[in-house]
Amino acid sequence: MPVNIVKLTYREALRRALREEMQRDENVYMMGEDIGVYGGAFGVSLGLMEEFGKEKIKDTPLSESVIVGAALGSALTGMRPVAEIMFMDFITIGMDQLINQAAKIHYMYGGKARVPMVLRTAGGSGTGAAAQHSQSLEALLCHIPGLKVVMPSTPYDALGLLKSSIRDDNPVVFIEHKLLYSQKGEMPQSEYLVSLGEAKVKRQGTDATIVAFSIMVPKALAAADKLSKEGISIEVIDPRTLVPLDSQRIVNSVKKTHRLLIVHEACGRGGFGAEILAQVEESEAFDYLDAPIRRLTGRNIPIPYSPGLERRTVPQEDDIIQAVSKLVVSE
């Protein structure tokens, strides 16, 4: 590992981003349930209260609506809050403030006000937390004009994207995945940003493209590795931000590989995979397709508790391998 490179977990990378941005800009602060001495349900803010004090790391009462609404109100008046909703499932409680207020204010006010806030939250299944603590609800947010939606899959991206999100002048929902928090990854020691709206080609390939995000990226990469041993060359693209979506990179890849599989954890019906599929269908890549675009998604069921059931509810590495295998033989 070169000297100017460090290895951090996703959790630590997020913490570093929060620390750097709070050091850089005194308007940045955090609020949420149990983010202070407890460090947040997933430990992301551990130690930050000790470092920045209670005014900057605000423990709130158990009140999601006002967490979202107060964050937006302070953003509207000059702060840059990073609010936390402990589990993504509970953004439903602050939904009016997020969807009807934060997302729309810039437009409704004729462009004369801004809401530079970040709403961090943890999505995804895999921890046995069942139906009300395991959802991937990004599709609900991507549909709402005015919101940006970020879903990093690596520590590197988590850091760079969170910093960009905090500097963005719009409400950004920043969706972390519970199973990624302990994943490690390398990044520069020095400061860097990752821009919102830039997909990343995580692996080059020629036979088919997989678009995957969040936890599905490592799964897709592992699947691609295995497939390469069978001589199948897969390109893996991580959009990293769903809104704005870097459709051009996806389109370009499909023009090269002629086949597309979209993989996400959220329920398939009305999931964001449908939107990606539709955008490719509507693009110039359509003429290059050698097979219909396929989606591999979470099933259209609530997340069950029992571990065997839970595992089968969302795509696993093997499912990806199977889906790609089918795709590359189909014409």
Partner: protein, 320 residues
Amino acid sequence: MQPSRSALVQMYKQMLTIRRFEEKVAEFLVKGIIYGTGHLYIGEEAVAVGACRAIKPDDYITSTHRGHGHCIAKGADLNRMMSELLGKATGYCKGKGGSMHIADVEAGNLGANGVVGGGIPIACGAGITIKMKGLKRVVLCFFGDGAVNQGVFHESLNLASVWNLPVIFICENNQYAMSTATRIAFNIEDLSLRAASYGMPGVKVDGNDVLRVYEEISKAVAHARDGKGPSFVVCQTYRWKGHSRSDAEKYRTRQEVAKWKKNCPLKRFGGYLLDKGILSEEEMGQIEGEVISSIKQAVDFAQDSPFPSLETLEEDVYAS
């Protein structure tokens, strides 16, 4: 605590401006000159004017669907207001917001709100900014009696209290939320009782008495500026007109409306000013003339203004 003579005159003029402005809006709604819906503030003028007189220009307010009065009391430009109502490019929101979204964040008006209760947590957020930046400002957070039964009311008053935020929560209890009388929606008579749940001061005042409103809000503002935290002030008042564009008003009696009209906040204050010799009939007439001409000017301005061009349609979705 009594405002100066010129302040009193200003207050009267503002109340009259709201009344006449809303009468014009009512006319435009009927004629279809105003396209969307509109919620009129007639009968409630003393609340906005009394409250906003108690703050300074750099203080904040959050407003409601029934927001024209707050806007005017906070010093809005009538031209840009009327333009917005007519959906014109010169409006406060370039025609994109309409009646329920007029805002002027730079001037401290954080916006009307189409969602009942929607502005209450936003007021808390402004309070956070004030505290964190060490400003000496306050926030007046207006909402109706209906909003007092929204979950965000509860969460917001609690947060403001535990964080000691400089927010004054002002309930305009006009006795109804649409058709729903407070006696149906509440099992308590005095809504200000709810302040106790959050450990903050609560008081009920005659919302048709502009000086009483001014006085109570002034106290609450001083309290907040002193770093003593939020208050809850319930102003008892009445909505003269139907809830919005169409309303058969089957939920209330003519007698009830008539009774409240006798308790007109504008007449009461006008009478007081005459009694005390602060204004003469003649001066009043002059003010009336000025108000009418300012509204006429606003109407002309709005009507002469262009509609927003279609090119602006997809602008301003994201800030950059």
